[in-house]
């Protein structure tokens, strides 16, 4: 099941792309491609379990930081 905060947009926040890309309406930012698999519920991934941004919004359980470079 896709995350309710997921949208697909071709432009936002000064970024513009040829193809519509995953956009998080909770953060107001385009989503990293790997995180988009969580947003879309692909494989065994689920936003309710695996996304700290969603969890923080829903129940304040996440820390909403990212160590990726």
């Amino acid at each position: 099941m896709a995350c309710p905060y997921l949208a697909y947009r071709a432009a936002a926040g000064g970024h513009a792309f040829d193809e519509e890309r995953a956009f998080c309406t909770a953060t107001g930012e385009f989503v990293q491609p790997m995180r988009a698999d969580i947003c879309n519920g692909r494989y065994d991934l689920a936003h309710a379990d695996d996304c700290e941004i969603y969890r923080e919004r829903v129940d304040g359980a996440g820390t909403a930081h990212d160590e990726e470079t």
Partner: protein, 280 residues
């Protein structure tokens, strides 16, 4: 490998990690995502000195793909733009079923090399890429069957134990080739003493590649050069050229490390030399 090998002036293999599967154009618009963009980036990187290209596949919107035909499209584009370069497919994939992780090995023709992640690593706050021993063994077995050279990705100190354990369980073709990875999170802390420990602790005869994430890319590449190792650079691992300035291209990062190698007295390996060093 050691400082003595640096003094001997052995050629250095530069691997260009062109695209990756974590971030995309939202992080740096110059990051190639489509097969044609990746092919062109490979050509430019090869021209700048890369002899190996490390490849991930993406959907048209930049999201991850593990499909065999998508990898084949990318390989065809790479071959058009860089006919001699060594192709290395990633088998990494956080949150992806094990069976899907095998797909990048099943292209026709198969890649000459493929990555083999040596153990678990955390992603974000709630995900772990498990990379179980069972998966490592099954990926390695398929690589052997298809004549693919594994590039052992050592994300942290525990993964060096896993390298030794893999050698206890399975026979690896000489030379063992391991990428030592330094950076934030689950990765080995990017400190010079950790680099020295890691290089001392590899199996006898192993050849190492050096990968620093983000701002650690250039200093750790330099350490790799100075201790007789090989280096990996590219937009998969680092989207910046310097603090606050995005890199213009993969080739820009390859060219910089090539200049550094030559200033330090190490020739940048051609694809033919890379194949000889790696036993391909």
């Amino acid at each position: 490998m050691s400082y003595e090998e640096y003094l001997a002036g052995d050629p250095v293999i530069v691997t260009a990690a062109l695209t990756g599967g974590v971030h995309g154009k939202e992080a740096n618009p110059a990051l190639p995502e489509t097969p044609e963009e990746i092919g062109r980036a490979a050509g430019e990187a090869a021209e700048a000195g890369a002899s190996v290209v490390h490849l991930h596949a993406r959907r048209p919107n930049g999201e991850r793909s593990f499909a065999v035909d998508r990898f084949e499209e990318i390989d065809e584009a790479v071959r058009r733009h860089a006919p001699e370069v060594v192709i290395q497919h990633s088998t990494g994939g956080t949150g992806v079923p094990d069976e899907v992780r095998h797909q990048p090995l099943r292209t026709d023709p198969p890649p000459e090399m493929a990555s083999l992640d040596m153990g678990p690593l955390n992603r974000y706050d709630h995900l772990t890429s498990e990379n179980t021993r069972a998966l490592v063994d099954s990926l390695h077995a398929e690589m052997v069957d298809r004549g693919i050279k594994p590039e052992l990705e050592v994300f942290n100190d525990g993964h060096r134990n896993e390298v030794h354990g893999l050698l206890d369980r399975r026979r690896l073709a000489d030379p063992v080739y391991a990428t030592l990875i330094f950076g934030p999170g689950t990765l080995t802390r990017p400190r010079p003493r950790n680099f020295l420990t890691a290089t001392d602790d590899l199996p006898d005869g192993a050849v190492f590649n050096t990968l620093g994430f983000g701002r650690h890319q250039l200093p750790f590449a330099t350490m790799g050069l100075l201790f007789g190792g090989h280096v990996r650079v590219g937009l998969e691992d680092n989207v910046y050229y310097e603090r606050g300035t995005l890199a213009e291209s993969n080739a820009q990062l390859v060219a910089r490390v090539g200049r550094l190698a030559e200033e330090l007295g190490r020739e940048v390996a051609s694809p033919a030399q890379a194949r000889e060093i790696l036993g391909l």
